[in-house]
């Protein structure tokens, strides 16, 4: 018998109740149960950052949180943050700067970049690299991602780059 747990959680602002396997990770719950497939599953042990989501306002690894642990919490995913327009300038600049190729890391990269800019509106390139050190990109070599984040940071501060 698969042990099941009842949870109540808010996902992208919508309250929902669900019965989940005790062993199910939060990112699998989002992808399989809610069909929110924007959060990707890469390594499943916290190294790659492709599954980055927000839990009660903080970025976390969706593969390192159980769905059961999201009981009573607020979850935000790339779908919600994309629809709300919160990431619009980051998304447009990643596109303009070729800061993605296959796109697998991009949702996690965008959420991490947004968390960085909330913490530090004027990061140096070194600080950008340090902050995204937990998000693997196998296509771009990071240069264009750092360019994009740096440029959005400048634009948000009203500096033309």
């Amino acid at each position: 018998m698969e042990p099941m747990i009842d949870i109540q959680t808010s996902v992208n602002g919508a309250n929902l109740s669900a019965r989940v396997p005790a062993r199910q990770t939060l990112v699998d719950f989002l992808r399989y149960h809610l069909e929110l497939t924007g959060s990707h599953v890469g390594c499943e042990h916290g190294s790659c950052g492709a599954c980055t989501i927000r839990l009660d306002g903080d970025i976390v690894r969706g593969c390192l949180v159980l769905a059961a642990q999201a009981d009573g919490a607020a979850v935000e995913t790339i779908e919600g943050l994309s629809d709300s327009g919160e990431l619009a300038d980051l998304q447009a600049t990643f596109h303009a700067r070729n800061a993605l190729q296959c796109g697998y890391c991009t949702p996690g990269m965008l959420l991490t970049a947004q968390a960085l800019l909330a913490d530090n509106p004027a990061p140096s390139r070194e600080e950008i690299r340090a902050y995204i050190s937990g998000n693997y990109c196998r296509c771009t070599g990071y240069q264009a991602i750092v360019d994009a984040i740096e440029s959005v940071a400048a634009a948000r501060r009203g500096v033309i780059s």
Partner: protein
């Protein structure tokens, strides 16, 4: 991979958590889960029950009493890094926090989880050893306190019994003229340490006193370089004195090599970190 099936228990008090631990001999405790979840996902562990203590009340507080900084075991690494109290009373811990995983990991991982797991490459066990910290442990028959030097006993091995819960961590409040340095080598920031050093000592009248050099990722548990540190007692941190201390590291530290990273290279890197730490301490 996905975890093997387990039962999930979320106790509402530390007493209930201890009772659940006693009841289920194959259970594990879940705090922030940033080490346990990878181990579950890779099926390195397959417990019968996961006891989620992550939301237990009053276990993430930071306070100062009788010259000791006390931190609840459920304090997250991000809160450790951001706490002004920690910054003032134990700057070593704050310096170490930014090396623990990545921002998304630090938002969930807890200091108690890291200490109770005792990964040989973990930052905080070495910091506790350098600072002369102690661990407050709760069991069904009450509380006991264990010195850091006696707590870490081997790879993923501690003095914590399986029916006990680490409740809090305490370190002495930074004394006058004491300074700390934290240095770590890793292949990328936040990755497992290749080798690391937590250094702590007093700089007074141009000399160093009570120096502690605690290395991690060198063996099965954090290790103090006793001879190297003692050789500097009362001396100035001149280039020559530091070099003489570095030469003694081979007596103190016996690193365990790994493929592509042998003992001699590791020992050399230990010396590099000592030079970096002590020259900054002297500045």
């Amino acid at each position: 991979m996905k975890p093997a099936p387990f039962n999930y228990i979320k106790p509402s008090s530390i007493g209930d958590a201890l009772a659940a631990l006693g009841e289920h001999p194959e259970a594990v405790l879940l705090a922030g889960g940033q080490s346990l979840l990878p181990m579950l996902n890779m099926r390195l562990v397959a417990p019968s029950h996961v006891i989620d203590i992550g939301a237990l009340p009053a276990m993430n507080e930071v306070s100062i009493a009788d010259g000791w900084l006390r931190m609840g075991a459920l304090l997250r690494h991000c809160d450790l890094a951001a706490s002004p109290t920690v910054a003032e009373a134990a700057p070593l811990l704050q310096a170490a926090a930014r090396h623990i995983g990545h921002p998304a990991i630090r938002n969930r991982g807890t200091i108690g989880g890291s200490l109770a797991l005792a990964d040989p490459a973990a930052e905080l066990p070495a910091c506790l050893l350098a600072l002369g910290g102690r661990l407050v442990i709760e069991g069904l028959d009450g509380e006991r306190v264990v010195e850091a030097a006696a707590f870490f006993t081997g790879t993923f091995e501690t003095a914590l019994r399986r029916d006990e819960i680490l409740r809090a961590v305490e370190v002495p409040v930074l004394a006058p003229k004491y300074r700390s340095e934290f240095h770590e080598l890793a292949r990328r920031l936040g990755d497992y340490a290749l080798v690391g050093l937590a250094a702590h000592g007093q700089i007074d009248n141009g000399g160093v006193h009570d120096l502690r050099l605690a290395f991690f990722a060198v063996g099965d548990k954090p290790a103090l370089a006793v001879a190297a540190a003692r050789s500097l007692e009362g001396k100035s941190l001149s280039e020559a004195n530091i070099a003489a201390a570095v030469a003694l590291l081979a007596d103190d530290i016996h690193p365990i090599g790994q493929p592509g990273y042998g003992e001699r290279t590791k020992l050399h890197h230990c010396g590099v970190l000592v030079k970096r730490a002590l020259s900054r301490m002297a500045a």
